[in-house]
Amino acid sequence: MKQLMLGNEAVARGLYEAGCSFVSSYPGTPSTEITEAIAKYPEVYAEWAPNEKVAMEAAFGASLAGRRSFCGMKHVGLNVAADPLFTISYTGVNAGMVIGVADDAGMHSSQNEQDSRHYAMASKIPMLEPSDSAEALAFTKLAYEISESFDTPVLMKMCTRVSHSQSVVEPGERVEITKPYQKNPAKYIMMPGNAKRRHPVVEERTAKLTAYAESCPLNRLEEGSDLSMGIITSSTSYQYVKEVCGDTYPVMKLGMIWPLPVEAIKAFAAKVEKLLIVEELDGFIEAHCRSLGIDCVGKSQFSCIGELSQNLVAEKLQKAVENGIALSEAIPPRPPVMCAGCPHRGLFYTLQKNKLTVLGDIGCYTLGAVAPLNAVDSVICMGASVSGLHGFTKSQNGAADNKTVAVIGDSTFMHSGITGLVNMAYNESCGTVIIVDNSITGMTGHQQNPTTGFNLKGDPCAKIDLETLCRAVGIRRVRVVDPYDLAQCDAAIKEELAAAEPSVIISRRPCALLKYVKHKAPLVVDSAKCVGCKACMKIGCPAISIVDGKAKVDATLCVGCGVCQQLCKLGALKEV
């Protein structure tokens, strides 16, 4: 029966139908729902790993053991997993292995706009790229066939618009596939002697895959009536091209983005007067065409920055685009903000008040960087706060020790903050690391992690104790504070910064959006006491505003956290 599915759900359905029985991933927008969806199938073992490298290595282990496996991540997660990626290319697989990677052109929820297709070429691993949910399902199943036929892991490349768009799919049945494990040192032990013999195998495999690309069903030609131009495209760019051009121009729609066909592209180019390449981000297909000596137009027309759209494609093809009516009125922007009652707010207020340099990290708490808190100095990637703090303080020879901190979330700390902390202990930093422990992976939509005590399927499981972990790596000063208590936070930060050794403060309170968190009644403003001093506005709470010169609390948003009360010297913010 036909169903509407997100691209990510369709990948999960494809995994299920292909007989995949092991999934290990780390959440990251826009890839997260693949793993959340597969967790609903009881036939499939699925887990959140602490990071993408662990996930990929676990998926490789399952493949080695003879089970079809999958790991999913966002584009920057593939950087974390790049180490196993390049060598799993050499070993190949036993049962099929598929690696899902979702790019985020337009950076809806990411820190960069990298193009993951380069990884396929660099690691010599085939990459498939669906353009809607039906293809996401079909390509995922086919990916396992390719993986096992060519003895290679296969990259399944998604993007925000394919991952997070629902379209119509027709689900099928599951097959069960297992393979026996056989010891094979020459194939699976990548020490130099063996790896030297595997590299030529990889090159041969790429040649075979290139031949497969010439005629495989993933790459198709769509006829057009006007041969003055031909278009090569893939993924969501294909949809924009078809939306604008319909059947006017012939289109070569690529579903396997690496390796790219050679003869088929040459033949297509010879058939048309002008060749246009429409692709998001870098000129990846374009570079391939140019390497074949084919003249084409690509990135000179379509920017490598941001997403494409049908209007952008139409403009470049000189088609009229009629915009709607824009108001002349200035419309204030609505950036994302920390939620009312967010436990991070009190902490960032305290950091800002103490004028500290804050090395930040990836999560909801990155929002501590925006006005009015403005409390963060740098954000790079998962774990960079802790390692960055070490470099910052060490290089200042102690001058920055008592005014610099790292802020990292519980899940991000487990992902790659712990190694930075080991470095601080080992190389004797003096900085203070603040772990903002909200008992969940927040930004990606509430995923469990090793510190929460629950697994992906929601079952109780082992819980990593952050205090014990930090002490075990050699940090002697470890303490816990409640970020709703500003005085306690302030005292703890001052004391730990003054100490002549590295320290960890765990700022602990569950995310205010968690269902089990009990909220207090909304606060009210005693307008007789409020003088409109705006002290309560310093924390940037969306529930507080100034109306007619007095503070006003929005009762639909306020959860009674009480942080604003601590800022009001006149006692104007009250519990009912």
Binding site: S109, E322, S545
Partner: protein
């Protein structure tokens, strides 16, 4: 049939994803090709959010571009004003009159524009403005703004009452069904 475009816009956390899910379910039963595009992640945290719903014989692009929307359904007044350029000439803008201050307004860095409904009409837009929050509260929950607005949208579509109700039943938890049906009816009749 030529592709029809519906944009659902609002503030992260207002429940626009449920509205698009409901609409998608309904359109699927009618046999259309459909694409529903959402944005997850950081922008959900109280930011401006947009969902694109497209249906017809064959839908290619998952998104709606400027000048293409047949309908914009806005959960919040400022968000309606933000997206007007996406409405096609002759398109319909359905908006909740509820105002939620964005952070630049809260901090005093910007002003919430006044008389937006009148200004949008003066600009030549076809605006259907309703107080969906009051109607939702009347139905039993301020969270039912999404069903009030779907009820309003249903006025402009040819689908039967039963078809809408079946989609509502498939999209909301049983214990909230009656309240949601009431909200839908209030939106339709307002």
């Amino acid at each position: 049939m030529k592709t029809k475009n519906v944009m659902i816009v609002g503030v992260g956390g207002q429940g626009s994803l449920l509205a698009s899910k409901l609409l998608g379910r309904l359109l699927l039963t009618k046999g259309y090709d459909i694409k529903v595009s959402e944005v997850h992640g950081m922008s959900q945290r109280g930011g401006s959010v947009v969902t694109y719903v497209r249906f017809g014989d064959k839908v290619y692009s998952p998104v709606i571009d400027k000048g293409e929307a047949d309908y914009i359904v806005s959960f919040e007044l400022l968000e309606a004003a933000r997206w007007t350029e996406f409405l096609k000439p002759g398109g319909k803008l359905i908006t909740n009159t509820q105002q939620i201050n964005p952070m630049p307004v809260v901090t005093g860095a910007a002003q919430y524009p006044e008389d937006l409904v009148a200004k949008m009409r003066q600009a030549g837009l076809d605006v259907d403005a309703i107080d969906a929050l009051s109607l939702a509260e009347q139905a039993g929950s301020s969270k039912a703004v999404n069903l009030v607005l779907m009820g309003r949208l249903s006025k402009y579509f040819d689908f039967t009452e039963d078809e809408w109700l079946a989609a509502i039943e498939a999209s909301v938890p049983p214990k909230f069904l009656e309240m949601n049906k009431k909200a839908f009816a209030l939106g339709e009749k307002a």
